[in-house]
């Protein structure tokens, strides 16, 4: 697809290294703006890359990006003092992905003194990093339209004050530092963004979908998430942003955002580039109206605290319950309100008095009734947990059962649960789907 001239993506190149876990081996890929590059190549969009990276990576980057039909690669500057390698604990963003950038405190970005003009490029997508954007702005045409995908390294909007031209899109993820600082209320965030007069603001809300705010018309386009097996969530958001910006002139921002969503969904499900390209091309053949009609999961970040999740599990102080704690961390990371009856109503002494038993039973039961769904982790086949699961089923409340130790693969548990799995990602998807359905029917 010729987007005449090519879209330019600007940022850093990294080596992404995901540690292997369970039965999945370790994975090393060219990361940073290479994700956006793969996405644009897969979408058949012409693009170029201007990047900062350590010198050892330059030749490999040229080769790799060349294989992805990059029209031009400009090495903007050297990264010294650090290898630009990122270790990732969690490739699927169940909770904080635990990005560890090696030697980041001694890292320095040195912009090259002699750089070619980049005034040919009319659409530029910045992925800000530890480089000084204002030092390279003179390379661009005053007619260029800039878009920004803010992830890490930025916790305020000061960078936009130095942008001379038009701003097309500002894109923020709920995983970003900027969102954590300013995102508590959507009105505050929009007001901050609006000061810089972008055409649109895209808020990416991970498994809950995304919202595209047209800042001229005031319209909000709700774009769902299509939850399936996530193989690797690293770079998925970059693909979304890059494809959206690249197609915006041809399809308008709304249409481009939907295609960006489709591309991102595919990107999360494979790390084989040829498969990604094949599947994105297939997806793009679907009429947009069909994609929109199929819907998906939509749970805006700011709504999630409105839905209470009852945690059914042996949440006792004396239990070895690492899986339970991680599940709670995951749900909390995604901004869900987790109600822990043992923590809130108290842990009974052993032996407990008849009075305490009765009181605690009724308080826990009342709490369960008040909650919107039940997330059960029946470690050790805890009898109390199994009873609460039965109560949830009888009450008609959605029940998501996470069975990491595979102790409860019993007919009544598996079929009584909306989702039963020993994989936390599947269970997390189940929570999003259940809450999305509750929202839609409310």
């Amino acid at each position: 697809m010729s987007v005449n001239p090519p879209v330019l993506i600007v940022g850093e190149l990294f080596v992404d290294y995901t540690l292997g876990r369970n039965e999945v081996g370790s994975k090393m890929r060219l990361g940073g703006v290479a994700h956006a590059a793969r996405g644009l190549w897969s979408a058949n969009v012409e693009y170029a890359v201007a990047a900062f990276c350590p010198s050892y990576l330059v030749d490999e980057a040229r080769r790799y990006l060349g294989s992805c039909e990059c029209k031009e690669f400009v090495w903007l500057g050297d990264v010294v003092g650090a290898p630009n390698v990122i270790f990732l604990k969690d490739a699927t963003e169940l909770a904080d992905q635990g990005y560890e950038e090696l030697m980041r405190e001694s890292k320095e970005v040195q912009i090259h003194e002699q750089l070619p003009s980049l005034d040919l490029y009319e659409r530029v997508v910045f992925f800000p990093g530890q480089f000084n954007i204002s030092s390279i702005l003179h390379l661009f045409s005053s007619a260029a339209i800039f878009s920004f995908d803010i992830a890490y390294d930025f916790d305020d909007f000061s960078l936009f004050k130095v942008i001379p031209g038009k701003i097309g899109a500002i894109v923020i993820s709920t995983s970003s530092l900027l969102f954590m600082r300013l995102g508590e209320r959507i009105e505050t965030l929009i007001a901050e963004v609006q000061q810089h007069q972008p055409e649109v603001f895209l808020l990416k809300e991970n498994r809950g979908g995304s919202r595209l705010f047209d800042l001229k018309s005031g319209e909000v386009e709700e774009i769902p998430a299509n939850l399936g097996e996530t193989v690797n969530s690293v770079g998925v958001g970059d693909v979304y942003s890059a494809v959206m910006v690249a197609l915006s002139a041809m399809l308008g921002w709304k249409g481009a955002a939907w295609r960006g969503y489709q591309a991102a969904t595919v990107y999360a499900r494979s790390t084989f580039p040829d498969d990604i390209k094949r599947d994105i091309q297939r997806e793009f053949c679907l009429p947009l109206k069909d994609v929109q009609a199929m819907g998906g999961v939509f749970v805006p970040w700011h709504d999630r605290q409105n839905y209470s999740i009852y945690l059914a599990g042996p949440d006792f102080s004396f239990m070895e319950k690492a899986e339970l704690e991680y599940a709670v961390e995951s749900l909390t990371y995604h901004n869900f309100k987790v109600r822990r009856p043992i923590v809130e109503n108290g842990e009974l002494l052993r032996p407990a008095s008849e009075y305490d038993l009765q009181r605690t039973y009724h308080m826990d039961y009342q709490l369960l009734k008040e909650c919107d769904l039940v997330f059960a982790i029946p470690l050790g086949r805890d009898p109390g947990t199994l009873i609460e699961m039965g109560m949830a089923i009888e009450m008609g409340k959605p029940l998501i059962t996470y069975d990491p130790r595979k102790e409860n693969n019993n007919t009544m548990v598996m079929i009584g649960s909306q989702v039963y799995s020993f994989d936390l990602g599947e269970c997390l998807n189940g929570v999003f789907k259940a809450v999305s359905k509750i929202r839609m029917t409310a």
């Binding site: 994975k27 294989s67 790390t271 084989f272 009609a293």
Partner: protein
């Protein structure tokens, strides 16, 4: 499906597929979900047109096809009557159907009570 390996960047487009001690690497997984057979327990059987028409579920062995009605993917009988919906995790089939892949299948198990239930197996036609 994810590729693995840390000795060198191996996910070059066009690099095919190789299996190493660490796992699969290369540009392609050599698999295509659109070409894979699948089994499914249908949803909404009791609310579907077939059950409404017949007050019964199709018998074992009845042939089925897959179609997209503009909103959801359904299994239909030879007359195009909807027997039940495929769970939404089968929505990937919409892109496959749109790229001229079609699926045929049969009822593998079915029962009217206590809840109308149909299980079906499908292969690429």
């Amino acid at each position: 499906m994810g590729s693995t390996g840390s000795g060198r960047f191996s996910d070059y487009p066009g690099a095919g597929n190789r299996t190493t001690a660490g796992g699969a690497t290369g540009g392609s997984s050599n698999s295509d979900k659109c070409l894979q057979a699948f089994s499914v327990v249908l949803e909404e059987v009791g609310n579907s047109q077939y059950y409404s028409n017949n007050r019964d579920v199709p018998a074992v062995g009845v042939s089925l096809r897959v179609m997209f009605d503009g909103q959801r993917v359904f299994a239909v009988d030879d007359h195009g009557v909807k027997v039940g919906a495929l769970p939404t995790n089968f929505n990937y089939l919409v892109a496959c159907l749109n790229s001229n892949t079609s699926y045929v299948g049969i009822v593998e198990a079915s029962d009217r009570a206590p809840v109308p239930t149909v299980s079906a197996d499908f292969v690429v036609e």
